[in-house]
């Protein structure tokens, strides 16, 4: 395939899936402007590094990797937002202050660390296969499985705590 054809395919993919990409970006930063910034930067990065996409069947996982990395970088760079790992936060706060009044799984997912959140979103909201998530994140499938279960356990315990409270 010549480069211009590849570019066209990537371009079509980006245009067709822009809403899904936006939702993913938004789920990290929770505000419109930042999510739009992430989309813009991801598109630029992707199109400029189109040579790094070696096989076209990996188009989706390749683009998601760029999108996820850009989102996570954005959270780290954005000084207004302080990301604290849940374990650290749990340690520092009395347990009742961590709780959200509504028993809402969606909010609980939001409170996961960015990497755990990524797994939940890709697997359950984006219906991505474990193998594809593994390719996207550059890990082996077994690692992804283990981490996914850990994330689910974390969610379950958060939910249970809330039910008790």
């Amino acid at each position: 395939m010549i480069k211009s054809e590849k570019f066209q395919l990537v371009e079509n993919y980006i245009v067709e899936n822009q809403n899904a990409h936006y939702r993913l970006a938004y789920s990290y930063v929770k505000n419109k402007e930042s999510a739009l910034d992430i989309i813009q930067e991801s598109i630029m990065k992707a199109l400029k590094s189109i040579d790094s996409l070696e096989q076209i069947q990996y188009l989706k996982t390749w683009f998601y990797r760029i999108l996820i990395n850009t989102s996570i970088d954005f959270i780290h760079k954005d000084k207004r937002m302080v990301v604290v790992e849940d374990e650290i936060l749990d340690f520092h706060l009395p347990s009742n202050e961590m709780e959200i009044p509504d028993i809402d799984l969606y909010e609980a997912i939001d409170h996961l660390a960015p990497k755990q959140k990524t797994l939940i979103i890709l697997r359950f909201f984006e219906d991505m296969k474990i193998e594809d998530i593994a390719i996207t994140l550059g890990e082996n499938p077994n690692t992804i499985k283990t981490r996914l279960y850990a994330a689910l356990r974390k969610l379950r315990s958060t939910m249970e705590e809330k039910v008790k409270a």
């Binding site: 822009q18 799984l105 909201f125």
Partner: protein, 291 residues
């Protein structure tokens, strides 16, 4: 897990802003344009900025006398004029540069005229280059706001004196303002400098002491006012520079100016002090300019 399905619905309900489509198309276009462009330095900005940049470079390279004047400030009783060469560059609301360059015409001393105008153009060129560099850096990290403004004001304009102040504001999160003023003796066609007004360097201490006592007075009178004055414990304003920014008012009073952040917190902005002529009477060379 039905709860997961509910959450998935919530996820899918994330509102898609109307700007998204345009932003996606624009981002793709920008990359496409960049790949076609022959000029590597403008590659990442797309053709819009490249074109705007070349217009600006063209206008600064143009002879000031030929430059198209967008506004004219006529000066009564004199043929000395200040006109604007203006160029505005805007890109997607996030990055703006609005540079307004003054241009003095009508002096018979063409060397002085040329020197002034070339200086004004050079100042704006530096600002513009800095703007471009910063824009590039910001794009690299994927965002931010950049807003560069330069403008000028004819602060005094009498038969004898013309004072032009140039302001530069660079608002990237917080704004920074610098102020430079040139004062011209229109009759004799001389560019007046601060040292040239005085017999010797004694004026530096006299004016500095006066300003420090005024600062203390103002701070005592009003709690919301803060100046940074140097003391044994603190770093701050000690003395004016020999070529501190100054202007002369229409009623022949000397005004000393400080840039934003130079002697006070940013909230105080650009600070000016009118120096009573009595304070500097002994030091003045003559009462020709300052009375």
């Amino acid at each position: 897990m039905s709860k997961l399905n509910e959450s998935k619905k919530q996820y899918n309900d994330i509102e898609i802003p109307s700007e998204l489509k345009q932003l996606v198309n624009k981002s793709i276009e920008t990359v496409k344009m960049g790949q076609k462009s022959k000029k590597p330095s403008f590659k990442r900005f797309g053709i819009g900025v490249a074109a705007a940049a070349s217009i600006f470079v063209a206008s600064v390279n143009m002879s000031p006398a030929l430059a198209q004047s967008l506004s004219t400030v006529p000066i009564l009783g004199s043929i000395v004029q200040v006109v604007s060469i203006q160029e505005i560059i805007t890109e997607d609301d996030t990055y703006t540069a609005d540079l307004k360059v003054p241009n003095v015409t009508g002096l018979t001393d063409k060397a002085l005229e040329k020197r002034l105008n070339e200086k004004y153009i050079a100042e704006n060129k530096v600002l513009y280059d800095g703007f471009q560099k910063e824009m590039e850096a910001l794009k690299e990290v994927g965002g931010g706001n950049l807003d560069v403004v330069s403008t000028y004001e004819v602060v005094t304009d009498t038969d004898e004196i013309l004072s032009i102040s140039r302001y530069e504001a660079n608002a990237e999160g917080s704004s920074f303002i610098t102020l430079r003023t040139d004062t011209i003796d229109k009759r004799n066609e001389i560019l007046i400098t601060l040292p040239s007004l005085f017999k010797d360097n004694g004026y530096i201490d006299t004016i500095s002491n006066y300003i420090k006592s005024e600062m203390s007075k103002e701070m005592e009178a009003d709690e919301t006012i803060t100046y940074w004055i140097a003391s044994e414990e603190e770093i701050g304003f000690e003395s004016i520079r020999p070529d501190q920014t100054f202007s002369i008012t229409a009623d022949h009073k000397l005004i000393i100016s400080f840039d934003k952040y130079e002697v006070a917190p940013g909230s105080m902005g650009v600070i000016t002090f009118e120096i009573p002529t009595d304070v500097i009477k002994e030091e003045l060379m003559s009462d020709y300019y300052i009375k």
